[in-house]
Amino acid sequence: MLSLTDITLTFPDGDGRVTAVDRANLEVARGTVAGLTGPSGSGKSSLLAVAATLVQPDSGRVEIAGVDATSVSQKEAAQLRRERIGIVFQQSNLLPSLTAREQLLVMGELDGSAKDKAARTRAADELLGIVGLGDHRESRPAALSGGQRQRVNIARALMGDPAVLIVDEPTSALDRARSEEIIGLVVDLTRDLGTATLLVTHDLALMPRFDTTHQMLDGALTPLTESETPAGVPGVPVSG
């Protein structure tokens, strides 16, 4: 699971510091998706960065699948991201020179952990099949649509069999139908693979799809109430 306890994060701002995240608490259990929304500049990405071990909080505790990731070194944080955290970027951020399959294999190759190449290739092909790109394994990003690129992005995040999945506004560049598809895919994979998924989105209409929902306002993390979700969307689950 992912556990953020009393997280505070500040950034330099002129002579002083600005508080991006203010004593935030969040727990995401295995096999569940926590949706996080909020206006631009509210601190969503900062919280996501803390959860992804890309930045260390000023105070508080970050726990990734039982491992205290609060004050790990950069090297240890990189290892955590490699082994326990999957990140789905807002832009697909695929490497232009690699095929869809190679996007999934590159991390293992770079760090020399790809001892059983055949097994990793099979795993990559299986994941690409799960995200519906079984026929596009050899396609480079330029030959894929936006939705397909985002599917590769998701498959790449899952390649290391992560305990925690961090998803950063995966539908911001997609139309409604594609957004629904992608969110559905993330939710289904979270259930199937048992990851603890934290997903950031601006799209309140997607909130009913998640197990718990939260919003950031000026650095403060609060549960998202039913009244704050779009009308006509029934059964919004609200975090406690």
């Binding site: 890309l54 290892q79 955590l80 955290i85 807002q90 832009q91 294999l105 991390m107 190759e109 770079l110």
Partner: protein
């Protein structure tokens, strides 16, 4: 090199271009190195073949060196010296026996002043003489060396000199009116861009006499030192005798033409090495900066900086090996093709050494680009910054 190799295939045009640039730079450096080596060989090979712990001359260069008998005696009598061999060097024209020697002994005897106009330290004058005669050859006559003939009246010629004079073993040539029987050496020896002919020390002295230089005992001394000899004592002896004593390498700088050529040629080679490093460094700096976003993504996904550095350096190494390898192969082929026509040396120090230096300097240049790898911030992969 998983990513490096795929990046190269993906951007094959750009990498082909930089590989071609490295290849051409290598070719340029290889050709210049080969030519430098060839020109150096044509300057120094005869001096290199002289044996001794120290080379003693009077003055700065071999050409201006005229050792007197008292100077020779002083070195022979020195405690630290176990052996002294006198060497005579004379740059003059060799003529076939039936040719018309411009340095005829009669002329030299008759007119000392005109003989002095054929100075030992002026190769151009000798060449002019050679051209005037039509069949003679401007050469450097070495007396008293290990390669000199054992009997007076003989001359041992470099093969190319024998070819130029159209003589072979047993034929006769003349120098300053002295008739000499030809023996042809197995390999060419050169001194100051002239082919070398070896004579006995007595014949060399006779030639000096015919040029009116009666007081010259030798041009140089090849000195063997006792094990106990210290450098200070040798320097002191050199000062006392108004001579200079240098080791085998530094003695090469006493060849005037070598000293003047090698500096400028090596400077050119050095500048080309520097330019190569800059070109490779500039390419990989721009290339890596273009990839900063991708590197940030890989770091966000958990790639370690050392792994990314290995990949980036591996990419540089592949470009350098391909470019430098191709360039050296081309240099070797061209060098072997022209080595009979122009002074060109194909050996490890004109091929493998520049190749290794180019790769090391290229990697150093590419190393500057690695700052972009180490500085790439994985945090920038989040959000819509890319």
């Amino acid at each position: 090199m998983f990513l490096a190799w795929r990046d190269m295939l993906f951007a094959r045009g750009r990498f082909a271009l930089i590989t071609a640039v490295v290849l051409l730079m290598t070719l340029l450096i290889g050709l210049l190195s080969g030519l430098t080596g060839g020109l150096a060989q044509q300057n120094i090979s005869a001096v290199q073949a002289l044996e001794g712990d120290r080379t003693v001359i009077a003055g700065e260069t071999f050409d201006e060196s005229e050792l007197s008998q008292s100077q020779v005696d002083a070195w022979e009598d020195a405690e630290a010296v176990t052996g002294v061999r006198e060497v005579g060097i004379l740059r003059f024209q060799i003529d076939p026996a039936d040719g018309d020697s411009s340095g005829d002994a009669a002329d030299a005897d008759a007119d000392d002043e005109s003989a002095d106009e054929v100075p030992t330290n002026d190769g151009d004058a000798s060449e002019e003489d050679a051209e005037a005669s039509g069949s003679g050859l401007s050469a450097s006559l070495f007396g008293g060396t290990e390669d000199s003939p054992s009997r007076d009246g003989r001359v041992r010629l470099s093969p190319s000199a024998a070819d130029d004079l159209a003589v072979t073993d047993g034929d006769h040539v003349t120098v300053l009116g002295i008739d000499l029987t030809v023996e042809v050496l197995d390999e060419d020896r050169w001194y100051s861009h002239t082919p070398v002919a070896y004579v006995t020390m007595d014949d060399w002295r006779e030639m000096e006499l015919r040029l009116g230089r009666e007081d010259v005992a030798a041009t140089a001394l090849m000195v063997d030192l006792a094990d106990s000899a210290d450098a200070e004592a040798i320097d002191g002896l050199a000062d006392e005798t108004s001579t200079t004593a240098s080791g085998s390498l530094s003695s090469l700088m006493a060849i005037g033409s070598f000293r003047s050529e090698i500096g400028s040629l090596l400077m050119m080679v050095g500048m080309l090495f520097g330019i190569s490093a800059l070109v490779v460094g500039a390419f990989f700096t721009v290339w890596t900066m273009q990839r900063t976003g991708d590197i940030a993504v890989l770091k966000a996904l958990g790639a370690s900086t050392p792994a990314l550095l290995r990949d980036a350096l591996g990419q540089s190494l592949m470009v350098l090996i391909a470019g430098v390898g191709g360039g050296i192969a081309l240099t070797t082929a061209l060098g072997l093709g022209v080595s009979g026509v122009v002074p060109f040396v194909v050996t490890w120090y004109t091929t493998l050494l520049p190749a290794a230096l180019l790769i090391v300097l290229g990697l150093a240049g590419a190393g500057f680009a690695l700052r972009s790898v180490t500085r790439a911030d994985p945090l920038t992969a989040l959000g819509s910054a890319r």
